[in-house]
Amino acid sequence: MPRLIQNLLTFGLLAFSLGLGTGQAWGKSAQHGKISHHVKATKAAAKPVRHVTFNGPNAGLAEARLIEIYQLIGKADTARALLKAEQLVTEFPTFALAQLVYGDLLSARSRPLNRFGDVPAEQLKNVSSALNELQDESRMRLKALRERPPAGMVPAEFVQLSRYNKHAIAVDADRSRLYLFENRGNGLSLVADYYISVGKLGIEKMVEGDQRTPLGIYFVTSKLDAKNLKDFYGAGALPINYPNELDLKRGKTGGGIWLHGSPPGEFSRRPLASDGCVALANPDLEQIMRTVEVRSTPVLISRSLKWVPPQSMQPRFQEFKTHLDAWLKAKSAGDVNQFSQFYAPDFNNGKTLTEWLPKLRNQVAAVQGRQLAIKDLSLLHWVDTSETMVVTFGEVAAGQRSGSTLRQYWSRQQNQWKIIHEGVIG
């Protein structure tokens, strides 16, 4: 039997989707010498997905095994690839993409393959879109594994996290990927990343029912146990605070945006599958549920993450901190006329600026001129058509042990940072 020819075909097709030896630049690599260096290094090593082990023993285990199968096919070792695929689908029978690869490996034993996912025409009738979606899923998984975040870099949105933000989540919609970070004393480190699905119609949620996933900076608001949910949500859910204050200001509607699991019968879902939520495989969601904290875990959802060295954000941090300190100084001084300058004319937190200023006057009076201090500051920087800083901190008056936790949304307007929303969150 011309197994060789089949090996060749399979290899060629899968190698194509793996992009073996064709390293692709990560994001705007030109801006970061380190990044393009990273890409080159990957290329030279000819082991494009060696980072898989990075995920640790539990995270994305099934995916890591799928990639191992791809690699075996890449080495024309179809016999071992078939064995591994059989083991994988036995353990994860609802892992549709694994079934597809298994099917290809079996088919290759009896006929030449013409493409990845070479389902016979008669079987493909009426379901060719399902095949396309699986091919997309494969492409997305490979893309995310081939184009790894440069070591030590973080999403540019995470300007500063406080010690209370023990974890952070960043979703890269273009890569169908969720990155989970741990905030250790020495900054953020990436601990795991997972394949995810977003809305059927993609991203940039605007209105209720548009089947899109919102873009922005959110926080985990609660943890929902699977036993209180419909089977559809799988292992559980982590709701986020969509629409956030910026969204509301922009008139965005809808709600109930969750990170959740997958229904029975579907190990993972296609890249565009949800009604706007971020859906994960159940083992992956469980891992995240076990790890992250409610309220203090930011969830950044971005079209395409931009990774930067943490130290490169110092200038932005310092620049913004100047404004924040000035605001705090004005507030400490108790001069409403002075510190009202920091508020945008269209400020609204349920009250307009004219309604809010008297409240602030009372607050200031209560402090009685004591110097205010900021503790545990976190700065999350969001840029789309405008520039927003989501600021969370503890405001403590001199002589006090604790104060209240404030969250503010600052907007850059004509090169001036202005507060468009503020409120006490705890």
Binding site: M1, P2, L4, T94, Y102, G117, V127, L134, G265
Partner: protein, 348 residues
């Protein structure tokens, strides 16, 4: 999309000593020396010895086979190709030269030729071919199941198990295996597992035929033997039966399923008593799945008794990658003006 040479060599395995080890033990001494040299990578020396022995035995397949192996190891690809090609011409029943030819072609990137050579290797034994086709069918069915799960289709559409072609005809004796007569008569599991028959002929045997009896009988099914019906030949009826058989073969070749299935009586004894619908589906899948089929009937003998007839003939089947010649028996019954097949069996 490039595959390096080394990967090719991993994928295809050269048979170096199989033939040498499985046959000709009595004469093995001369070969053994050469084999030893080959094992120790002393190819130049081995070549000298092979050549000197070939002077006295210029046609000896064993020596020629070894020479091909040595030539390949010496990097004399084209000479090795020539050696193995000549061997396949002189001994078309041996699979090993075809296999090694395939390895050589593959290492030269000539995959079409490699494929053809491997197909020929399989065809050296009809049982290999059938088993191979069956294996392909099983893989295809498994693939189909996996695809169903991948696409989340209702798998009940494809739930019919594959009907594998039973090897009904026991491997015909070839030159290397002179005594398979006992093999075809009994098809029970009680056959004593005889040790490999010592082969005494002056020719290398394929690896498998060195242990002929057991594996082959194990897969041969009891064949429904047509009853001998001593009646005078009814020539008109015989012509009709002949026409019916030829039309059946033609419909099969044409993949005309309607005509093909209509050639079978409603009372046709389906293999293993499977339901008619399942059998029909199976035939449809098998026949329409092939890109081209050719069924040729030769040596047709017909016996007619009243409204029943037995047609025995040699059936040359070519379909997809498979080419098999086997003896076939059809029992036909006249229903109205048509002779319809009531029983079909392969083997003599």
């Amino acid at each position: 999309m490039k595959l390096t040479r080394s990967v090719v060599l991993i994928a295809l395995r050269l048979i170096t000593l199989a033939a040498a080890c499985t046959a000709l033990t009595s004469q093995a001494d001369g070969y053994a020396d050469i084999s030893q040299l080959v094992k120790n990578n002393k190819f130049a020396e081995a070549l000298t010895q092979v050549d000197s022995q070939l002077v006295s035995k210029p046609t000896d397949p064993q020596l020629r086979f070894l020479k091909g192996v040595i030539q390949r190891n010496l990097g004399k690809q084209n000479e090795a190709v020539a050696t193995f090609t000549k061997l396949t011409q002189d001994y078309p029943e041996l699979p090993e030269p075809y296999n090694n030819l395939a390895v050589l072609y593959a290492s030269q990137g000539q995959y079409d030729k490699a494929r053809a050579a491997l197909e020929m290797a399989i065809r050296t034994n009809p049982s290999y071919a059938t088993a191979h086709e069956n294996m392909g069918d099983v893989y295809a069915r498994l693939a189909s199941q996996a695809y169903n799960k991948a696409l989340q289709l209702d798998s009940s559409n494809h739930a019919l198990p594959p009907k594998l072609a039973l090897i009904r005809e026991v491997f015909k004796p070839n030159l290397a295996n002179p005594k398979p007569a006992a093999v075809s008569s009994t098809a029970t599991a009680t056959v004593t597992p005889a040790p490999a028959t010592p082969v005494t002929v002056n020719k290398p045997a394929p690896t498998s035929s060195a242990t002929p009896a057991k594996p082959v009988t194990a897969i041969s099914a009891p064949v429904a033997v047509a009853k001998p019906i001593p009646t005078p030949l009814e020539s008109d009826a015989s012509k009709e039966v002949e026409a019916a058989v030829m039309a059946w073969a033609q419909a099969w070749s044409d993949k005309n399923m309607e005509t093909y299935l209509a050639a079978y009586s409603r009372n046709f004894a389906t293999p293993n008593n499977q339901p008619r619908s399942a059998w029909e589906k199976d035939r449809r899948d098998r026949i329409t799945g092939k890109s081209r089929i050719s069924v040729k009937v030769s040596e047709l003998r017909i016996q007619v008794t009243g409204n029943e007839a037995i047609a025995k003939f040699r059936q040359s089947y070519k379909g997809g990658k498979l080419s098999v010649s086997s003896s076939k028996t059809l029992q036909l019954k006249k229903q109205g003006s048509h002779w319809l097949i009531s029983r079909e069996s392969t083997g003599s």
